[in-house]
Symmetry: C2
Subunit: 509 residues, 2 copies
């Protein structure tokens, strides 16, 4: 059965033959689900163009305003407002690439960004970490490194990301620590925070040298990416604008993500929030294309709602699902790869946490997202990454990966011979058709326990979170499955020592 | 805002204006997702016809074999095997109604069964009940009545069902107790177990009299339904065959559900399991149409996989999702309304339980199911209904109902005026567009807690299951929202006393 053994996926709980599903490169099998009629998609797009043309964006970085002005935008430096015409938007959408490769540390970790591909990330950007052994705490570099190891382990997590903020490392040195962790603990596609040019330049240099690339080779393809959040409504701050410029210049990928909570920083309606989000994303994309036509950029949307009584953010709601689906329609109108998200506002890894994250994830998958962010581990609306929730959510994410694989229905799969062999009221456990296939027929769960109540009780009546603790504890000690070049590793360490001694790189704001 | 206040849904946690989403009658908004090419759907259908024609079904009830023989099937009474030709299947599919109404106790609880409508049921048929206050126990009539009250409360649960088995009521009297509970505690569409003609006739009489119907009025439309499980592979037992006959004769609805666990009572492949399931469903549908052409019947499938190491059933797996999607293709080929399911093998209401039930539910919804069974509350692969899981799953089910509603995108929703009003970096909390809409803009969660970690901790750090306890406790004391006719209620009670004194109706097997 070489076909079914050909490719080992990592993620399952045990050794032995596993299934031939390639978790490393997914194509979304679901036809995208619309929530708006085509004429309403056009109306939202037209309204977003009106927003950019008549109202404009407040752009806090002078360099960005200069670039916009040179490109033909109407700029008022006193108010920092930039009004962007529809021609500039059209040109940007025309020059932004529809498809581009992402170059990771190993060729079998490379990805393609285009409508139809699906890359998944765990929860990102949390100030806290939590697990059942050590409790909830401000995140540390140790947490970041452990979570990076877990990210490396699971093939279904396709990109590295800023899992937690290592708060024990000063911000002017933090980018060294997280880049070193990403490069040495994982061969997946790394993330760089846009906290000003000095930090970004440091990170580019570390990645370039560690990957053994010339400047030209580095610039020829994206070797890392950043996330750009606008300050909704209609504002682009200094480090974010600088990030768009720096990444575009260097040919690296920006993922543009207006964060529009309906009723708070965006209109209370799905259509209104998406109009604002779309306008902001188009402004950011325009800046990248003014800097360098063809610069790799992802469209993005992160629109959910708030609790209108308390203002608390909510995730995995029906409104977020609808916003995801609508954002997908806008992304397809542009033809660009795009980033979508799920999340949970739960405070503990319970049924609410599971349901919210899965609900939003279905919204993103059915929306045809190219990148699904916060797919596993996110609690408290992103204030905490839970080790246990990372594991329990990965059961869902791995199930999505399974659904990306074909469901075979050859005559042999239809199994008339087995149906002839087994008599009425009998069973198929021992028939030849089953024996040939049983070892690889089904997805093997990561954390689900299917034993009966008696057996489960005898084994300690552990719930999914408690079982997840055992899983992540074992995995954080696993080798990363690749061997970084020792010379480059030493050179990276020396670079970090040298730059740290020289004062590091304070963030810009 | 009369439009948004026009229709109160029940299910939300509080009084006040609620949203104009009609939870009582859902139409599935998702385009059905295929897993097989059209030619493979034809191949599965053709293989199922071959199974029926060449191999046949073992039919244990002599009356059913007589009906099949009279209809033209090749019957061997010694082996009890019935071989069914493709002409008989084609005639049955042609005469089975594509669309029919279900008549409940109130007109606004009536339903329509056809491809495109969506009716949802909670978990059904469990021998045990569990909740955090009273623990796991053999289910009693009190549990059955409480769970019926909860089913009545939530508009998004569209039909009554055999939630738990009231094991404290002897089986020859149990149908009186459960029918009385259904009719007096709820005005939703009731369920009748097929445990032989005497019990079924009793139930028909109770429902007919309680609804105040003549025999002709009762027979003119379905006023109740039964679930028919085949004994896969290829066997139809006595009470199930009798149920198909009795319900068809009476014009009441049979929901045909082969229960095909891949690798156990069905082939290990999705395509093979569906071939068997499809053949068995067609045989059962054929029997209903031989009894009475045009008898209301639902196609159905319940195919999931087992753990091939232990034989334990699994639910909410990728294989179940694929089987659901494939079954939907077969149902659409027939053009019949159909029943699909989700479930969970978890032993406690944890992240596994939530994820499995939601995963399977998405499979059913994306498969275009007409009825989704076991949508809320099912634990242990159906051995237990959990009061808390009923509540936490209902959050997901209500979210599906929200997704059935249109996402408005009029110019007013696109909100250019609000976008003009709010300045860059500002917020939309107080703007006119928000003020006009905030009270009904968003789905209000049933059990989700979106408060921050500090507030949540101060309030007792309750997880979703613990919060769910408070919710079901409050709701089981709520009045059912309708007033049964006291005379009919008294007549029903008298009927039950009289029949019980006469010895009840022992089940047939």
């Amino acid at each position: 059965m070489s076909a079914t053994r050909a490719r080992r996926r990592r993620g399952g709980a045990e050794d032995g033959p596993t299934r031939a599903v390639d978790y490393r490169r997914l194509r979304n099998p679901f036809p995208p689900v619309p929530v708006f009629s085509e004429d309403r998609v056009e109306a939202i797009h037209a309204a977003a163009l009106t927003v950019l043309e008549e109202l404009g964006m407040k752009v806090l970085l002078p360099e960005a305003r200069t670039i916009f002005r040179a490109g033909g935008a109407i700029v008022d430096d006193a108010s920092q407002m930039v009004r962007i015409g529809r021609d500039m938007v059209a040109a940007a959408v025309a020059s932004a690439p529809r498809s581009f490769p992402l170059r990771a540390g190993s060729r079998d970790r490379d990805l393609v960004m285009e409508l139809g591909t699906l890359a998944i990330q765990s929860g990102a950007g949390a100030p806290h970490a939590t697990d059942l052994l050590r409790g909830r705490r401000p995140a540390t570099l140790s947490d970041y490194r452990e979570l990076t190891r877990l990210t490396q382990h699971f093939d279904v997590l396709h990109m590295l990301n800023p899992l937690v903020e290592p708060q024990d490392v000063p911000v002017h040195l933090r980018h060294y620590a997280v880049t070193e962790a990403q490069l040495t603990l994982s061969d997946k596609f790394p993330f760089v925070f846009s906290r000003g040019t000095p930090q970004v330049a440091d990170c580019f240099e570390m990645i370039r040298d560690f990957r053994g690339l010339t400047e030209a080779e580095f610039a020829a393809k994206p070797h890392c990416y950043t996330i750009i959040n606008t300050n909704s409504p209609r504002q682009l701050d200094v480090p974010m604008a600088q990030g768009l410029i720096d990444f575009a210049k260097a040919g690296q990928m920006s993922v543009v993500t207006p964060f529009c909570l309906m009723g708070a920083m965006a209109p209370v309606t799905v259509a209104g929030a998406l109009t604002l989000s779309h306008a902001e994303a188009l402004a950011a994309i325009a800046l990248t294309q003014l800097v360098r036509p063809g610069a790799p950029v992802c469209y993005g949307a992160f629109a959910s709602n708030v609790d209108m009584k308390s203002g608390a953010p909510a995730f995995g709601t029906p409104e977020e699902v609808k916003a995801n689906l609508g954002a997908g329609q806008l992304a397809r109108k542009l033809g660009l790869p795009w980033r979508c998200a799920t999340g949970s506002a739960a405070n503990v890894n319970d049924a609410q946490a599971a349901n919210e994250t899965q609900m939003g994830a279905w919204g993103a998958v059915l929306a045809g997202a190219t990148i699904l962010i916060h797919g596993a581990g996110w609690l408290e609306g992103g204030l905490t990454v839970s080790y246990e929730k990372l594991i329990t959510d990965l059961e869902v994410i791995q199930s999505f990966a399974e659904l990306c694989a074909e469901t075979p229905a050859t005559d042999a799969d239809i199994a008339l011979d087995a149906l002839r062999e087994v008599q009425p009221g009998g069973h198929f456990f021992g028939c030849a058709h089953t024996m040939e296939r049983y070892a690889t027929a089904f997805y093997e769960p990561l954390v689900a326990d299917w034993s009966n109540f008696g057996t489960w009780t005898e084994r300690g009546a552990k719930d999914a979170s408690e079982r997840a603790t055992g899983i992540w504890r074992r995995l954080i000690d696993e080798p990363p499955g690749f061997s970084p070049d020792p010379d480059r590793q030493a050179a990276l360490a020396a670079f970090i020592v040298r730059r740290s001694a020289a004062g590091g790189a304070p963030p810009e704001s």
